[in-house]
């Protein structure tokens, strides 16, 4: 059994337990969110001992070389000594420039980083406030088109960070950001390829950014964006996206309402149902899926069955920390 050394304590790991599980089980305040290797909130640094390759998958080379790894994926095979990591290597400061409501439960937050951030539209950052609380948010902005960084944050019942952003965060205060992370973004090189984008809730934020990025890059194949919400108020960018569609013949936006009798101009049903109904054959398409995990996972399977290559499907499931208190089971 591997021992995990953290700060001044040594903890005995249990079989198939991750470093994160071991630390949490012993009451350590380790940072985490998704517990599946997507969000990077749980990143730590190994100062002694071997890190399994899988626990470093997707990290930048510079971080890997310094022993950074994802504690939620790290099932150590031998004793390991870990630390929280050098803050300066991961985070930089950013100032809140504005906050405005886009819908009653969605707000737009604009930030200016201390040094310019090199990122792709559609990637995400980890936002950390002064007391250490940290959450992942997708970027809603496009390099070259938008001067500042932008998030669309949905207020969640019981959500510590989102309620703080809505109720207490002040314009002018500073937060820490880590990133950019994730590989859900536009890749130039095939300007005629069809792009299907399906999102619900604030899953729209990265998708709208990717669509604007692609159009700005001269993409001339069809770009079909489907956004799902229960009620019309949740289709929070529809005016802007309908304008974008009016200005670009190859871009279309469909607001999908799963509630009762949608008003004219909207499709009825869940975004993924409407999308797969209208585009039944996805051979050769690239597919972007962002939003709640059941939608994203179900749509990924359907997109594959509809003919899309798995490597052409970019999925970003928004995992909620408040649902992730229990360890995820080890893979079989």
């Amino acid at each position: 059994m591997a021992t995990v050394q953290f700060n001044d304590s040594a903890y005995e790991g249990q079989p198939s337990e991750t470093v994160l599980d071991t630390l949490l089980r012993h009451g350590e305040e380790a940072n985490y969110s998704c517990r599946k290797g997507s969000c990077l909130n749980c990143m730590m640094q190994a100062v002694e001992g071997a890190v399994p390759e899988k626990a470093q998958a997707g990290l930048r080379d510079t971080l890997r070389a310094q022993g950074y790894f994802l504690s939620c994926l790290c099932r150590p095979e031998s004793d390991i000594s870990v630390v929280q990591g050098e803050d300066a290597a991961l985070y930089q400061r950013a100032v809140i420039l504005s906050r405005e409501l886009l819908a009653p439960d969605i707000c737009r937050v604009v930030l200016e980083p201390a040094t310019p951030l090199y990122y792709h539209a559609g990637q995400f950052l980890n936002l950390r406030r002064r007391n250490g609380l940290s959450r992942s948010y997708s970027l809603a902005c496009v390099p070259n088109l938008d001067r500042y960084l932008e998030f669309h944050i949905k207020r969640l019942a019981g959500g510590q960070m989102s309620n703080w952003v809505f109720d207490e965060m002040q314009v002018g205060e500073s937060v820490d950001i880590q990133g950019p992370n994730g590989c859900c973004f536009y890749l130039p090189g095939d300007p005629g390829q069809g792009l299907l984008m399906i999102g619900n809730g604030t899953g729209l934020a990265p998708l709208a950014a990717i669509a604007r990025d692609a159009l700005n890059d001269g993409h001339n194949g069809p770009i079909r964006l489907y956004h799902g919400s229960r009620a019309e108020g949740g289709l929070y960018l529809q005016d802007r996206l309908l304008d974008l569609a009016a200005a670009n013949a190859n871009f279309s936006y469909t607001g999908c309402l799963s509630g009762a009798a949608p008003p004219p101009g909207h499709a009825r049903g869940r975004a993924e149902e409407v999308a797969f109904g209208e585009i039944p054959d996805l051979a050769g398409w690239r597919v972007y899926l962002c939003g709640n995990p059941p939608m994203v996972e179900g749509a990924k399977k359907r997109a594959f069955l509809a003919g899309a290559d798995l490597k052409e499907i970019y999925a970003d499931a928004f995992e909620l920390k408040e649902l992730r208190a229990a360890p995820r089971p080890a893979p079989a």
Binding site: E297, K300, K301, F304, L305, D309, L310, K311, P331, A332
Partner: protein, 122 residues
């Protein structure tokens, strides 16, 4: 030295052509899809690819022991001959849709049939 089946049908390119077709068939079949772990489809596809590489006689690390270990839990959950036969049927269909000549397809199906006792943990 005579070409192996793997070389005759076109090596890794043939496996790549077959794997998506095969995986889509298996995933669409409600009788067996419940036994697939779809939480990580990319990993699942890699497993299908390793399996096809093995039955096509290609270079692989896949052994009977792996097959047994990988499926033991599923057998406990009720996987039986009917599921094995269904997957074999999808493999047969994949080969015929890809136009693999009957004699070669026969050899491949013989290799696949030989994995039954490992897969079903007998």
């Amino acid at each position: 030295m005579a070409d192996t089946i793997y070389q005759k049908i076109g090596g890794e390119a043939a496996v790549n052509a077959a794997v998506d077709m095969f995986y889509r068939k298996v995933l669409s079949d409600d009788h067996i899809s419940g036994y697939l772990d779809n939480t990580d489809m990319d990993a699942q596809r890699e497993k299908q690819k390793a399996f096809l590489t093995m039955v096509f006689g290609g270079p692989n690390e896949y052994t009977g022991k792996d097959l047994r270990t990988a499926h033991a839990k599923l057998v406990e959950q009720g996987m039986d001959d009917s599921h094995f036969d269904a997957v074999a049927g999808h493999l047969q269909d994949t080969l015929s849709e890809l136009g693999v000549p009957a004699d070669i397809a026969g050899e491949i199906m013989t290799v696949a049939a030989g994995t039954r006792s490992e897969v079903l943990n007998r």
